[in-house]
């Protein structure tokens, strides 16, 4: 029996979390979502004209997915906490993907603000999934505050640069007592597979699907990559060696 992803007591069949940003239409988003098999889907909270281009919630409901609101775009703990409270009221969920970023150019998390926001939201009963740097100490601190998972980045949001520091990620995975969800930086299927092979419990995929030339096809590639990577992790890879190790018998060779 294969172990399933479990976050805060909720069991997931899929290890892919679907980010909804960047799709050109809700139709394409919905088709891609179904192709990934994801069961949890992110949304953002904004001051926008309502129902512009249809309702994203209807598309998510139709796919039977849970909603994971985020605090994207927040630069301070106070803004993130406020946005989380608004999301809880709007969507009736305690789950929050906590993002507190440090600047516009890198969109990298601001560690001190992130810790402050996480502590407050955990106190208020939220199920907090923080987007964090690939820093094993920060990840541990977030876990100790009561976060339900940690979401280290592979590389900056939307960069498609893959996993820049697999060694740090391996340390985070090894020491984590909560699920590790690779968030941000995935560019193509092999990046998602690498994350899973490193032992991440799940990956969040957004731009790499939504901004692909063919998002629906990339969605399928991502689903297969996550499954392949997880299987390879469970199967246990062979060690990397400097020199060859023959796979054919070394005895009984022909003589001339």
């Amino acid at each position: 029996m294969r172990e399933k992803l479990q976050i805060a007591g909720r069991v997931f069949q899929s290890r892919l979390i679907f980010g909804t940003g960047g799709f050109t239409s809700l139709q394409v988003m919905g088709d891609a979502l179904k192709e990934t098999g994801a069961e949890m889907v992110t949304v953002a909270m904004r001051r926008v004209d309502p129902m512009a281009g249809g309702s994203i919630l209807e598309v998510i409901d139709e796919a039977g997915c849970d909603i994971l609101p985020n605090t994207a775009g927040c630069f301070t703990a106070a803004d993130a906490v406020f946005t989380a409270r608004m999301a809880r009221e709007a969507l009736g969920t305690e789950w929050i993907k906590l993002e507190v970023i440090g600047d516009d150019r890198t969109l990298l998390p601001d560690g001190p603000e992130l810790l402050a926001a996480a502590e407050q939201l955990v106190d208020e009963g939220f199920i907090v999934l923080p987007y964090c740097n690939d820093d094993p100490i920060l990840a541990k601190r977030l876990e100790q505050l009561g976060c339900a998972a940690v979401m280290p980045l592979g590389s900056p949001i939307g960069s498609g640069a893959g996993i820049r520091n697999p060694y740090n990620l391996a340390i985070i995975v090894e020491s984590a007592g909560v699920p590790v969800i690779l968030d941000a930086g995935i560019g193509t299927a092999s990046d998602a597979a690498v994350a899973m092979e490193l032992g991440c419990d799940a990956v969040l995929v957004a731009s790499s699907i939504s901004r692909a030339k063919d998002p629906v096809r990339m969605a399928r590639a991502m689903r297969m990559a996550v499954e392949s990577g997880r299987l390879a992790h469970e199967a246990g890879r062979i060690p990397r060696r400097l020199y060859a190790e023959a796979s054919s018998p070394t005895e009984g060779l022909a003589q001339t």
Binding site: P50, R85, M86
Partner: protein, 67 residues
């Protein structure tokens, strides 16, 4: 009365309720919408009876694509 509605100072009819303000902004007020007044989230269950007064800062957010 004058309100700050989603960052813009606007004149709205006296005694406007939160549902009235949502209508002014074009929001239908269904699922996926949240309202805060002066930084405090106002639960949907008390939108109708909430007393909006001159000078208040009203924030309305909606779930959109992102993340």
């Amino acid at each position: 009365m004058m309100l700050n509605l989603n960052g813009q100072v606007r004149r709205v009819p006296q005694d406007s309720s939160i549902p009235d303000l949502l209508a002014i902004l074009g929001f239908e007020g269904g699922r996926g919408v949240a309202v805060a007044v002066d930084g405090e989230v106002i639960p949907r269950s008390i939108w109708d009876g909430f007393d909006v007064t001159d000078g208040m800062r009203v924030e309305v957010l909606r779930a959109v694509q992102g993340g």
